[in-house]
Each structure stands twice: as C-alpha cells, then as structure tokens.
Amino acid sequence: MSSNEEAEEDRPLVSYRTLDIAVAIFFLIVAAIVITDSLRLGISWKPNEGPQPGLFPFYIVVAMGIASLVNLAQALPHTPAGEKTATTIPGIKRMAAIFVPAVLFVLATNYIGIYVSAAVYIGAFMVFFGKFPVWQALAVSLGIAIVNFMMFEVWFLVPLPKGPLEAALGY
C-alpha cells in the first residue's frame, strides 16, 4: 500500500485491524438478521417437498457467521500487519470530496430531478476540485445533463426522476 515516505506526512486514521473487526461485525449482524427471518420461514426438510424457504438462507448465513467469527478472531490480536494504516486522513478527505456530494446529489434527485442535480453536482465538482473556470464547468455539466436527457427521456423513452424544471417543460 502506501510507502513509508508518504506515510510520514499522511496522518493515519484507521488501521487494518480496526477495519477488519468492523467488517467482520457487519457480517455477523447480517447473519443475525437473516437467521431471524429464516427461522420464521421454517428451515426443515419437508417429506414430499424438499427444503422450506428458510433452509438455504439459514445454513448459508450460518456458514457466513462461522467464517466471520474466524475472520474476527484472526483480526483481534495486535499484529504488525494489522497495525498498518489502512486509510489516512487526507485519503478519507479526498474520498469524502466525491462521496458526500454524491449523497447530496442522490438526495437532491428526490426533489429537483436527476438531470438538474447532476448538472449542479458535476459543475460544482469541476469548479471546486478540478479548478476549472466557471464557464467551462457550466458548459460541460449542462452538456452532459442535456445529452442524457435527450437520450433517456426523448430517444429511448426511459423515464428517470424528474423535478419541477422538467415538469415546467412539459415532461
């Protein structure tokens, strides 16, 4: 992963050990949820019909749970490999730079439609992170949104989420 020279200036955020433990616990939670519903559905083998609907999910997630416990047990001891930095603070900041706006973009889609929010998302990203001049960002983001609009709504007639702007245009 990251070499030592870089690691000195990048402040560590989480170690592999922490991440491994977190993911193993996530698997165990999923296993618990599925087991609950499988038991409701029935996990026995009926004489004339074969397995009940819950049988497969049940044994599958039991296997998953066991594997995750092993993964958890392997992750718990403090080892040199486990203490290595998985993600640094600058790294997570850069990821947040695309991911947080992506979440806002999806949220905004509910209210103003996918095309308008995509135009804003792409344009804003270009200006703030790509340091593009505003007119270029405007041209590119509007261009992408309009091309997609033509393609999906007009040409292929695939309806996507739309907002007040599209409604005003009669779509």
Partner: protein
C-alpha cells in the same frame, strides 16, 4: 418519491379538472395526456402480460393513436406487488396505466401485500386468457378423462404438474383439478415463465401443464404436445385450422370431458385511483381504437383469447365476483398468506 412530490401539485390540478368535469360534460370527453403515459407491467419480460403490453405499445405507435408516447416498464417484484403498489402510490397521476394478470387478486391474498384492485380505477377488460390442459403427445392420454383416471389410479403426488409461479393462476387451476381426483394430489412444480413450462413438458420433465394457448401453440403445431381440454364454459370460437387437423374450437371443454373446472384470466387495464371520468374515457377510447385494428384481431386469434370487452359498471361487477372466486379457491387450496 419525487413522483409523490410532483403529484401533490397535480392533486390540486386534478381536483380542479374534476370539478370542471362535473359542470361541463362535453369538456369531459376531451381530456388528453399532457406527458408520456407509462404502462406498468406487474410481471417480468417475456410473459403473457408483457407480450400483450408491448403489443399494445406497438399498435399505438404504428397507427399513431396517441399524441404522447406510451412507455412500457416492468415492475415485477414480489409477484407484481411492486407494480401495483406503484399504482396505488401515484393515485393522482392519470398518466399511469397498468395491465393485469391474475396476480391482481392472488398476490395480495398469497403474500399479504397491502393492495387491492379497488386501489386503482378500472378502465376496460381487453380479453380473457384461456387455460388448456396439455400433455406430451407421446403419452397415451387422448382425453381429459383418460388423464384424470390415470391420476386417480396412480399414487399420491405421482403426477407432476408444471406451471408458472407459485400460488398463482396455474397452481389455482391445479388445485381446482385436484378437488376432482379422489384425493390424489399433483406434485406442482413452479417455473419462472410459461414458455419454459411448455418446453419442460415436451422434455417429459413434468406430466401435464395448464399453459395459456399462446405459450404452447408452437409445440402443439409441431405435434409435440396434445391439448386435452379447455377450462372455459364454451368451446373456443376460433375455427381456423391451427394444426393440420385441428382448430382451437376442436378442443373440448373440460366440463364436456368430465372435469367440471372453469378458469379464465383477466387481461384488463386499470389507471390510477383518482382518475376523472374524462381520463378514464380517454383510455377506453384509445383501447377501443387498438382493438379495432386488424393487428389486434390477429393477435387475439393466435392466442385463442376469449374476446370479451367490458367497461364501467359491468367490468366492476365482474371484478367483484372474480375477487370472491379467487379468495374462495385460494382458501380451499390453503394458499392464503398466514400473516
């Protein structure tokens, strides 16, 4: 969710339109869609409902029957519950219509999904789809009676019935037949689609099916399958020869062959609950135009559909009785959701 936001504004518009309709009936006749109309298919691609919906879309575009485009989308999740719940959620958007199959009744009963046909506005019954009892032509059964006798003589669950989906029309028909086989049950094997069911029968992986005519007609014409009887009160009205010797009208009714079971599947159109009479009328007119085309007549004949068209009060009456029928059949067969 966005649709719900938009539809709030539309509720007001629709309310205004509705009040306007009450005062001026002539204006009521003249509603037209102002944006593309979405046809929701509560079933997967390739099935009977899907084929009919895409056919209607094709006919509408070919003959230019509507100014706005007709968009077809599949919402098959949860045995069609997804599509119906979408119709229920967009009660005030008259630009949505749906085509039904029997899951209109069976899905809420069988899975407990919270909807009912009364959450939508009935537009028109297009046709009734038939069910035919098929066996492999290599088998010795010539009539429904032969087959039922063989089932009675066999051991319980010896005979395998293939069908589309679980706790849906095919299994309901199977359950109805089982009432008349001296307590001998079929082993019902559910598959994903009607075409696959017909092929499984040709390959002798099941003993019989209750395929719709259009799903098995190819194999019938090739001499691989044999129709034993049709689950309708009368014989089919199509007299043109389908195979070398037989026409659809040559298939006896199941009642004639000593198997008094009748079942037909609704192919109907619904729109959203708050649609005004003007809006419903627009769709009724549109469908009448579709049904007047030669393409439609050919399609009906190919699938041996029972061409019964109903609208308005007649249609609603039919729906009420069909709902009772389904809930009776499913109760008897033990298919009701336990929750």
């Amino acid at each position: 969710m966005i649709r719900r936001e938009v539809s709030k504004a539309k509720t007001i518009a629709a309310a205004l339109a509705a009040s306007a309709c009450l005062t001026s009936p002539s204006w009521a006749q003249s509603w037209e869609p102002t944006k593309p109309v979405t046809l929701v298919i509560p079933a997967g691609t390739g099935g009977g409902a899907d084929q009919m919906a895409r056919f209607i879309q094709g006919v509408v575009q070919k003959h230019n029957l509507m100014k706005q485009p007709l968009i077809v989308i599949n919402k098959a999740g949860g045995a069609g519950a997804e599509g119906f719940l979408e119709m229920k959620a967009s009660a005030s958007d008259p630009h949505k219509i749906t085509i039904t199959l029997s899951n209109l009744f069976t899905t809420p009963l069988g899975t407990g999904s919270p909807f009912n046909w009364k959450d939508m506005k009935p537009v028109a019954m297009l046709a009734l789809d038939q069910f035919v009892l098929w066996v492999n032509s290599e088998k010795p059964y010539k009539t429904a009676k032969d087959y039922v006798d063989a089932v009675k003589a066999g051991t319980d669950r010896q005979f395998k019935m293939g069908g589309t989906g679980s706790k849906q029309e095919d299994q309901i028909v199977t359950a109805a037949v089982e009432q008349l086989t001296d307590g001998k049950k079929f082993t019902y094997v559910p598959y994903a689609g009607g075409g696959q069911v017909a092929v499984q029968l040709v390959g002798n992986h099941v003993d019989s099916t209750v395929n719709n005519p259009i799903e098995a007609v190819g194999q019938w014409r090739a001499g691989q399958l044999r129709p034993l009887c049709i689950f309708d009160a009368q014989r089919s009205t199509y007299t043109a020869k389908v195979t070398d010797k037989e026409a659809w009208s040559d298939i006896p009714t199941c009642k004639e062959s000593g198997l008094p079971v009748e079942y037909q599947m609704l192919r109907g159109i619904f729109t959203t609950k708050n649609a005004t009479p003007a809006q419903v009328n627009f769709y009724v007119d549109l469908l009448k135009k579709v049904m007047a085309t030669p393409d439609w007549k050919e399609f009906m004949e190919k699938g041996a559909f029972n061409q019964t068209m109903m609208t308005g009060a007649d249609y609603e009456k039919w729906l009420v009785s069909a709902e009772t029928l389904h809930s009776d059949l499913m109760k008897k067969a033990g298919f009701l959701a336990t929750q």
